[in-house]
Symmetry: C2
Subunit: 421 residues, 2 copies
């Protein structure tokens, strides 16, 4: 029995208990959410987790950090530091997106070390194997892709991104309509290349039941990827993107019937005034499945600062109902992120999530702001460290220019507005 089936049968389950404790909510609340698919708790049966995280309706907005090697930069040691830093900075999940080096070994080490859920995008490994055999990306073999998925599931991966909504019909919309920035999802672009070169259906769509069987066997959560997420403001909310979303919605229902947990991934680059519509549609077409958004980035012009452009979009999206934010680092669109970028990315995404949680009414969120402001007014700097998002930052930045009088800061000195006369 999968976790979802346990929940549907109202069976006691340790994951549900742990998630309820973590959220300070009742077990019934979590169980009902898992049963109806509006909450997921990604956890592979072959894995131990130090921290159980639920994602979905009524819960704290969660944050994912992507790490991993690329063909151009392979440094496992550094990836493990990124992992530690991401978790320490408060990431609720980590995805290993490695595409360089010994992928099985890298994943093994990340799975062994990571205290929180780990996700992957199996088609990356399938692409690497294909290219290593001297073939083109468009020659990715469907059987081999399923082998990779099963291997990764067997290894203990808790959730996998699968671009099942890219099929011949949606690719036809893309080919007909075109786009300014084309397909920017890596996995999505691989599948489009396969379909366009071979005319064959996407195996993840054509053999979705086979995918569900593997997911069920290891209780892996499916994160239905948005292979057609817009990579430019211009392409946002186009028929290509929405066509894929409609397919994903159907696949959510099939997964639920099989007792497999699903999330739906979301864009991408979206102008501010289209974010609410994107969230509303994804919740509606996705039948309330938890939404896992990358951004959205509210402008295309800020490489070097896309942790900020995505925090803007992510905060608004989460406030409107997005449950899970994939971080974007300052290195996005420029290069593989380094350790510092990872930390900045996690904190920016957490800020977006928290800003949303205040207005979502998530338990405890507003209390943290109120405590922070209370101690700010009291000029109690030690207590502020306790309630702020990054105590280390507050401490070290303040130490860079210490005030003449301990209770204030160098911005206003003796003129501090917080002081009474």
């Amino acid at each position: 029995m999968t976790l979802m089936q346990d929940a549907q049968n109202k069976k006691a389950n340790k994951l549900i208990q742990a998630a309820a404790t973590a959220e300070n909510l009742s077990e019934d609340f979590i169980r009902e959410g898992v049963a109806d698919g509006t909450i997921v708790i990604p956890k592979n049966i072959n894995r131990k987790l130090s921290k159980i995280i639920a994602v979905g309706k009524g819960l704290k907005t969660k944050v994912n950090a992507n790490i991993g090697t690329s063909p151009d930069y392979i440094n496992l040691e550094e990836e493990l530091v990124k992992l530690d830093v991401a978790v320490k900075a408060g990431a609720d999940a980590v995805m290993d997106l490695s595409t360089g080096g010994n992928l099985t070994q890298i994943r093994k080490e990340i799975l062994a070390r990571c205290p929180v859920q780990v996700g992957t995008v199996p088609i990356y490994e399938a692409a690497c194997r294909t290219v290593a055999q001297g073939k083109k990306i468009s020659q990715i073999d469907g059987e081999m892709l399923f082998d990779v998925i099963e291997e990764q599931a067997q290894q203990g991966v808790d959730f996998i991104t699968v671009h099942c909504g890219i099929n011949k019909a949606t690719v036809e919309i893309l080919n007909r309509q075109g786009r300014l920035a084309g397909v920017v999802s890596r996995g999505g672009s691989f599948l489009v290349k396969c379909i366009n070169a071979t005319g064959k259906e996407n195996p993840l769509y054509a053999q979705y039941d086979r995918l569900l069987a593997i997911a069920k066997k290891y209780d892996v959560t499916l994160s239905l990827g948005d292979g057609f997420r817009p990579g430019a403001a211009f392409d946002a909310s186009d028929a290509v993107q929405l066509g894929e979303l409609a397919v994903l919605g159907e696949l959510v229902l099939k997964a639920r019937a099989a007792g497999v947990q699903t999330m739906i991934e979301g864009p991408g680059h979206v102008p501010l005034n289209q974010i609410e519509a994107n969230v509303t549609l994804a919740k509606k077409l996705g039948h309330g499945a938890p939404l896992y958004f990358l951004g959205p980035l509210v402008t295309d012009i800020a490489p070097g600062y896309d942790h900020i452009t995505s925090a803007i979009g992510g905060a608004l999206a989460a406030a409107k109902g997005v449950d899970f934010i994939c971080y974007v680092t300052p290195a996005e669109h420029i290069r593989l992120p380094n350790v510092k970028d990872v930390r900045e990315g996690v904190i920016a995404a957490r800020i977006a999530g928290h800003a949303a949680d205040i207005v979502k009414g998530v338990k405890g969120a507003k209390d943290q702001d109120d405590a922070m402001s209370k101690y700010r007014k009291l000029r109690d700097w030690k207590k502020q460290e306790e309630f702020c998002i990054d105590p280390e930052k507050l401490r070290t930045e303040r130490a860079k220019l210490p005030p003449q009088q301990d209770d204030v800061c160098t911005m206003c000195g003796e003129f501090c507005a917080m002081r009474d006369e």
Copy 2:
């Protein structure tokens, strides 16, 4: 005749011509906006400006950078570097908020060096003089305050923040209702202390006509300060804040009748779901006066990252109609910002403004994103530098980890989704 009176009389005016050219809009459009008070072009008659900037309805969202000494840190040379860096990073205006050292001299140097409009908060200098005389803040003398205002206007300051909406009536609301974080506007807190200690009315309110006469004489724009801006999410949109706003709205009309340009300042710390209401009310009660917001910061818990919390709020506020964003640096709530903080603050605020301009339909805004994405798809990195918000950042960050193949980046290497097969 003031600029506003010129505009009302449909007289040709070089400032209006320059602003129209800068915005790529017609002179008539700018003139009508200046005439009805929905657009301002702050410029003192005693000053030359290299760059004329209009602020208001239908225009690009502008960004202000605060610089200046504090009692705890006085380093004029560094402030001048901050000035240069802020302007180079794209600040449309600079405010000198100095409260330490020889204020007249500091202001003189900033005014001489700054190519864009300069604003001040004259009550800061009045407070410094008061304290220098061994008196308490609450003993700020009204006559002296007006002397300071006239001196600063005579010196060439283009716009001044004046907290005219803090009066006995609004302070009574504050005293009755209380607040979590109290009054966080420095100038606002000075005036509250004066009113509470002496029982006398705020001279900026009681003698508003005198203030208008000085503003008119030098054609200084009044930025009607939000002395009661909330400094905590908890205090947002309370009766204290809205009471002050209602007073400011009346003062806008009086200023217009006198031919004096006005802006209205806005909050502050505001949860995401109250931002639109704040903008709508400020535009309504302020009779369409340009809105100059500080943030809003969408959470209280992120010292060290308040350029991000304010970019989130600022983007949303500007998308809903805010015209002018006062930057917030990463040092906010911690210490006086350094040069690096100033740069980060300006860029973050510009990102927020630009994200808003896309959805406001500001001329050219969306075109920049489309060009950026076009060249991103083409993997033309030189052209991307031309259209991105910070070319230097893109160049230096990319150089930190150069790709094996020139057209891509180290994130995906040969697997770049932007490549065709």
